[in-house]
Point group: C2
Chain length 405, copies 2
Amino acid sequence: MAAKFQLIPGGTVTTPMGFSAGAAHAGIKTRGDRVLDLGILYSEVSCAVAGVLTTNKVKAAPVVVCQERLPVKKARAIVVNSGCANACTSEQGLSDAKEMTSLVAKKLGIPVAEVFVASTGVIGVPLPMTRVRTGIDRIVLSRDGGHQLARAILTTDTNPKQIAFSTKVGNTKITVGGIAKGAGMIFPNMATLLCFLTTDAKLDPRLAEWALRGAVDASFNMISVDNDTSTNDTVLLMASGLAGNQPIKDGSAEAEAFKAVLQEVCVYLAKRVVRGGEGATRLIEVRVEGAASEKDARLAARAVASSSLVKSAIHGADPNWGRILAAVGRSGAEIDQSKVDLYMDEVNVLKAGCPVQFDVEKARQVLKREEVPVRVCLNLGGDTAVAWGCDLSADYVAINSAYAT
Amino acid sequence: MAAKFQLIPGGTVTTPMGFSAGAAHAGIKTRGDRVLDLGILYSEVSCAVAGVLTTNKVKAAPVVVCQERLPVKKARAIVVNSGCANACTSEQGLSDAKEMTSLVAKKLGIPVAEVFVASTGVIGVPLPMTRVRTGIDRIVLSRDGGHQLARAILTTDTNPKQIAFSTKVGNTKITVGGIAKGAGMIFPNMATLLCFLTTDAKLDPRLAEWALRGAVDASFNMISVDNDTSTNDTVLLMASGLAGNQPIKDGSAEAEAFKAVLQEVCVYLAKRVVRGGEGATRLIEVRVEGAASEKDARLAARAVASSSLVKSAIHGADPNWGRILAAVGRSGAEIDQSKVDLYMDEVNVLKAGCPVQFDVEKARQVLKREEVPVRVCLNLGGDTAVAWGCDLSADYVAINSAYAT
């Protein structure tokens, strides 16, 4: 399947036709001279839009604004800041988030109802609106501004995450691009995730929503535990339709093809988010095979990928496979201990529930790789899932014990 | 209520009448010269017994043996080792666990069906049975052997945890004692917990089970997340009946009084387990008040107490209350953000969902205490729960990245 996609070198969220972006140093982030902390993503035409927002009952103000505007199903722009989450900021926060969208609507001459907003950073502190206002003023949009925007949304993760792929829908080339931001990803259930996706494919909003939900389930939801989200998590997809393809129909092969390329973008960004986790030195890819159901496969894969004991063991290149099995056992997935096989890459450490004599040095070498493949075969059915996590290092604690103040 | 209990200075699991214990260095723990790693708890009469065992689907062999024997409702002894969990050891493991109980039955001249067994340590490695056999041989029981036993069950937690309280049931003084072992408690859902409780009160097994379940729910289940248990978690209560009280009746005031003192013992041990968590420097006590239901109160309290971001912030004495609120928001508990009040001891940081200007230095001082009280008022109903956690320090990672090998 991957062969059908073309990676676009230097591709980003503004690579698909119709999009531009820009960013500025508004001074919302007080640390770091001239660090980008405010940006705009813009489409020259009105886009079909779909979103996946946090399920946390404590929602940041910008999430509430997005929630209100998604039913309109149209978007022209997204304004985003880092350094302040605008969460737990009560009525003032809501008013500030709305003002951000009004300022952008006015600057660009577009309807305010088609401007979306996202924030990430410290909770409980109001936005410095004077700085935000002059910052928005100063932003200059350009076709390759996606690279700037990718930097402007970062907090403690220091590497921009961006990509674009193209593929054919019928005879028409379409492009999907995206940028993402994640932090605190060592404990994925408490990350703030922002991801902005664009495409020039022509989609109706219902199809956009279906494709986005599927792509997020196979990517960002496999680096996090469903419903355990931060106050600010926001994934938005804008489809400009400028590629000129025949509108993609629900349930068609083209719809599947579009979902597949969108998923490829999301999986790439999700893995980069994990890899850029606070203090992370390695990516752990956990594949669960032979589960009795897809739900079981997902539960088990995520339990292993998010187990702090597994993460710590892998950080120390310690082939302590008992911790992997214990994580599967408490995941809620159906399991017959006497059927489980366990592999660290090609090193088989458990066969039909029995420990195997294995080459410990070889296993250690696997665990020292940049990408560590762990495979659990439940041998109960035909369902598979893949989840990603990173190792747990002492740096995580150093970063997180002094973040806000 | 606490005033009704008498703390017994130097009290332990062998303080109640009828109990003795002993321990030996069998060499199961390969590190540490002459470290105790095997022990026996013995009752001179047949006891009523109740147990709470791991809900992990991957169960260690000793847990399977306990599960089989609990329906008999009688116990004379418990044999326990540290250094090897005897988990994921397949048929051999089961046979070894049973042999441990046979050896003790033979040594003490008691029925094998009344001997229980527990193990803690590395997963996936078979017990060194030659060492276990000679170790059991060498154990000498004594009335104050509980102190030795408390040390023999430790792994990475280095301080023995033991206590005994007495109270009156009717006109008769009864005593409850206990020891516990926990490790990896910084992420409580992956700890192995062992706890052995004794009493000389006369109880029928049904009452013992009811009291134990209630006491565990208010203590060990508030430092861990239900169903997220290790392969080896075992809590056992033995009641010798030698105090000579009138048998306690179900639903009576005496039954409540017994449960209360048992709970006091369990809460003390649970807090000690948290405080002795790997790398822990502080105990965090999270009280959730005004919840719409008890379930909600418990969910919210545990979510805060087990949040790695909260733990990291408290380690750094950083009053980042947004992380506390975010944890409540994702806990699943009913919440109206505009009603929530938040306190760090007496420092009010959030009132009716709005940030309060507070004395940051004063809040920092609260967070630097040995016991950090955090209070969340949901203002939705009348239910309360208390959970405990510890701070997250870099030492945790150091300990857990090199444990097994």
